[in-house]
Point group: C2
Chain length 142, copies 2
Amino acid sequence: MLTIGTLSKKTGTKVQTIRYYEQIGLMPEPGRTEGGQRRYDNAQLDRLSFIRHSRQLGFSLDAIRELLDLSDHPNRPCHEADAIARRQLKQVEQRMARLKALRTELKRMVHECSGGRTGDCKVLEVLRDHSECLTEHEETGA
Amino acid sequence: MLTIGTLSKKTGTKVQTIRYYEQIGLMPEPGRTEGGQRRYDNAQLDRLSFIRHSRQLGFSLDAIRELLDLSDHPNRPCHEADAIARRQLKQVEQRMARLKALRTELKRMVHECSGGRTGDCKVLEVLRDHSECLTEHEETGA
DNA sequence: GCTTGAACCTCTAGCGGCTAGAGGATGTAT
DNA sequence: ATACATCCTCTAGCCGCTAGAGGTTCAAGC
């Protein structure tokens, strides 16, 4: 029987976050002591580890919900889990492409800064005028 | 004299977002018609373009506030603007490194999925057990 | 058995950066 | 004069937590 604090340490999840996951139905309601404190078992520890690990890989809580559901039904075909992971991979690749364009632009900005007055600053000039950009870097979504 | 809708179209910023920027003091309060509708001039159009472009490059609204302030004082030395841009570049590079690790892991997961039952699914297995990961990918912050 | 004090509890509000919608007023073209 | 697109304010919601107030419970040491 684990306290929420122990669970917190074992998984690297803040106590509040665990309670939050319970609140949104990602973690099941645990048992309670007579005094009303939460007590967890190993199954719940595993579940939380799964959630945290998925979060580290960038999956949204909604995606994790689906993945947990699949994980709970070992006889179903697994192409769904595969699809979720592929979707995530795609997103990561898109974000990387965007960041690459940003990096190019930022590098150029910083490189051309002559260290004079702000009136002549290349950094500010580029921000003022998008047409000076060599790459496209639209669509905020990171 | 531009309406908020025109400004919205010219800069690709939603009308609500423009009002939000005004509310948080990023955009100045514009003039109004007798009936109370906002009317903008070209200086404000430029300012909003600057903001949007900076956002596309991933600067936070706080950083943009600083950049705008610097831009308003052309005689100050520009190393501050340079520092802000360098900070941003650093962040972008960190995020890219993280995404790279994630991509590696996701690719491996997807690659090893045999298409069988969820019970044998490599994707889910990896999520269950971090020790199967070849790369580190800690610290969510993207 | 009693006292500490760390860890627990609930509840509410806030972060960034918007976005959506209700419900009503204004501006412009015909 | 009328239609109707656009504007207004206001409130609440999104994601994924995080922080804090104000109070209770548990376990260890005496």
